[in-house]
């Protein structure tokens, strides 16, 4: 059994505006300190939570899915080697590189950077940023779930209409 999944499933993943604003502050600070191009925060299901910096023409949805898949495969390898998790992953390109840093137990921070900075700088400040983000997530998880805004009461009805409109066979 994967106990943390049970826990997270019960909690559901809801990000409120004020949470994301706090996360963005951390990401922007990290962006400046590390001199990276952009930072993308992704949950383990492969959904993007938020981003900072110049993402330009990057297909964020696809990158998020691949990052999550990559991390999942790494985690499984770690488990088989007797490690809890490999907390950092690094892919080096000719021009741009990407570092993936685990944040808490359910999000991944993807940092894209180029020759303007170094892997050492990115790694150093990513650790700091990761700790700050973990603090924010801890506060989110400890908050009672009923607080904050919720989906509109017409969501169900609207969803049916959207599905009928979209799926015209």
């Amino acid at each position: 059994m994967v106990s943390d999944s049970d826990h997270l499933r019960e909690k559901r993943v809801v990000f409120y505006k004020e949470d994301v604003e706090k996360i963005n502050e951390v990401l922007i600070e990290f962006l400046k300190l590390s001199d990276s191009k952009c930072n993308i925060l992704i949950d383990k299901e492969g959904h993007m939570v938020t981003k900072a910096g110049k993402t330009g023409a990057i297909d964020l949805q696809s990158v998020s899915a691949l990052v999550a898949g990559s991390y999942a495969a790494t985690r499984e390898m770690a488990r088989l080697l007797g490690e809890d998790e490999f907390s950092v992953l690094f892919h080096q390109g000719r021009k741009d590189s990407i570092q993936l840093t685990l944040v808490g137990d359910r999000t991944i921070l993807a940092t894209v950077f180029d020759e303007r900075t170094t892997i050492g700088m990115v790694r150093l400040y990513a650790k700091e940023a990761s700790e700050k983000l973990e603090e924010i997530f801890r506060a989110i998880l400890e908050r009672p779930p009923q607080e904050g805004e919720d989906l509109d009461k017409n969501f169900g009805e609207d969803a049916k209409g959207a599905l009928d409109f979209f799926f015209v066979d």
């Binding site: 059994m1 994967v2 999944s5 049970d6 499933r9 019960e10 559901r12 993943v13 809801v14 990000f15 409120y16 505006k17 949470d19 994301v20 604003e21 949950d43 383990k44 299901e45 492969g46 959904h47 938020t50 023409a57 990057i58 297909d59 949805q61 696809s62 990158v63 899915a65 691949l66 990052v67 898949g69 990559s70 999942a72 495969a73 790494t74 499984e76 390898m77 088989l80 892919h91 390109g93 021009k95 741009d96 894209v112 904050g148 805004e149 919720d150 989906l151 509109d152 969501f155 169900g156 609207d158 969803a159 049916k160 959207a162 599905l163 409109f165 979209f166 799926f167 015209v168 066979d169």
Partner: protein, 308 residues
């Protein structure tokens, strides 16, 4: 797991196509990619082998559009169907909000369908997912082939949870949209229930007990493919009956059938529990091999997306 992001005003759902190898999962995604309204789907990303068999997953982002002020998106994945790739298949299933099980209707393929379904259940159990409450839709694919199982046979063997079923010829695009529409509807309805103060999970009507087949005839057993799928779980009547999207009303043959295949899987599970260190190293080697392959693909895909 559905992500609700009030900052981006987005709802993100994960849907997984499951099923045996070569049953048509990737073809389903290709059809959705081709038929969906322009601008509503992103690129279809495949992490596949040289021979175009899925190695890790295929991925298609789909934007349903605005739903009550929220951009509603689906991330659609397929798993590799081959038995060999269970470790990666399991990873893709994690956090899924709904599953389409694509079964091969061709005669002789039932053992593979059953093996894949058992594998799905095993992976469900590992993640603490309940097939009674998780949105699942069955697609009986390749209905155009000359030698196929009847719908009754498919239902009897595979439809254990009163799921909606759809006949399809994915290669020609038939049945692909109704299947996905039904599942997407169930996922959104489930989300709506959770956020409208209702119970988090709602069970399907009780499955038909083995040997207590109930004729779904009398006009009550058919469910049109056009019927709103979003209400299928919540508003299904208490009558135990197969929920069919197309085809004729047929008697339900029963619930779970224990087959020789199931037993062999149980044995495999026991072996797994008692695996020796040697077995672990064999697995490690296997996963490292698969992982290395996946990494090469990942690096390539990520580099391509980053414009390298």
């Amino acid at each position: 797991m559905v992500q609700i992001n009030f900052s981006l005003k987005e709802v993100n759902c994960k849907v997984v196509y499951y099923g045996p190898g070569l049953s048509g999962k990737t073809t389903n995604l290709e059809v959705v990619h081709q038929k969906a309204p322009k601008g509503s789907v992103g690129d279809l990303t495949s992490i596949a082998t040289e021979g175009d068999r899925t190695l890790f997953f295929d991925f298609l982002p789909l934007n349903l559009g605005q739903v009550a002020g929220m951009k509603t998106k689906f991330q659609i994945y397929t798993v590799p169907g081959q038995v060999y790739y269970n470790s990666t298949r399991k990873l893709v299933l994690q956090g899924a909000d709904g599953v389409v099980f694509v079964a091969d209707s061709k005669k002789g393929k039932m053992p593979e369908n059953l093996e894949s379904l058992e594998n799905l259940m095993e992976n469900f159990r590992e993640y603490g997912m309940d097939p009674e409450t998780t949105p699942i839709v069955l697609q009986y694919n390749k209905r155009d082939l000359p030698e196929i199982y009847t719908i009754e046979e498919m239902d009897a063997e595979l439809n254990r949870w009163n799921c909606l079923t759809f006949e399809a010829v994915a290669r020609d695009g038939n049945g692909v949209f109704p299947t996905l529409k039904a599942l997407a509807g169930q996922v959104l309805e489930s989300l709506n229930r959770q956020h409208s103060g209702g119970s988090v999970a709602q069970r399907r009507p009780a499955a038909v007990a083995v040997g207590a087949g109930v004729a779904a005839g009398g006009g009550g057993g058919q469910q049109s493919a056009q019927a709103s799928p979003a209400v299928s779980v919540g508003q299904a009547t208490g009558r135990a009956q197969p929920m069919r999207a197309t085809g004729q009303a047929v008697p339900m043959q029963g619930g779970v059938r224990v087959s020789a295949k199931n037993q062999s899987i149980s044995v495999a599970k026991n072996k797994k529990k008692n695996r020796s260190k040697g077995m672990l190293w064999v697995m490690l080697g296997f996963v490292a091999l698969a992982g290395a392959g996946a990494y090469l693909h990942f690096s390539g895909k990520l580099a391509a997306l980053l414009g390298q």
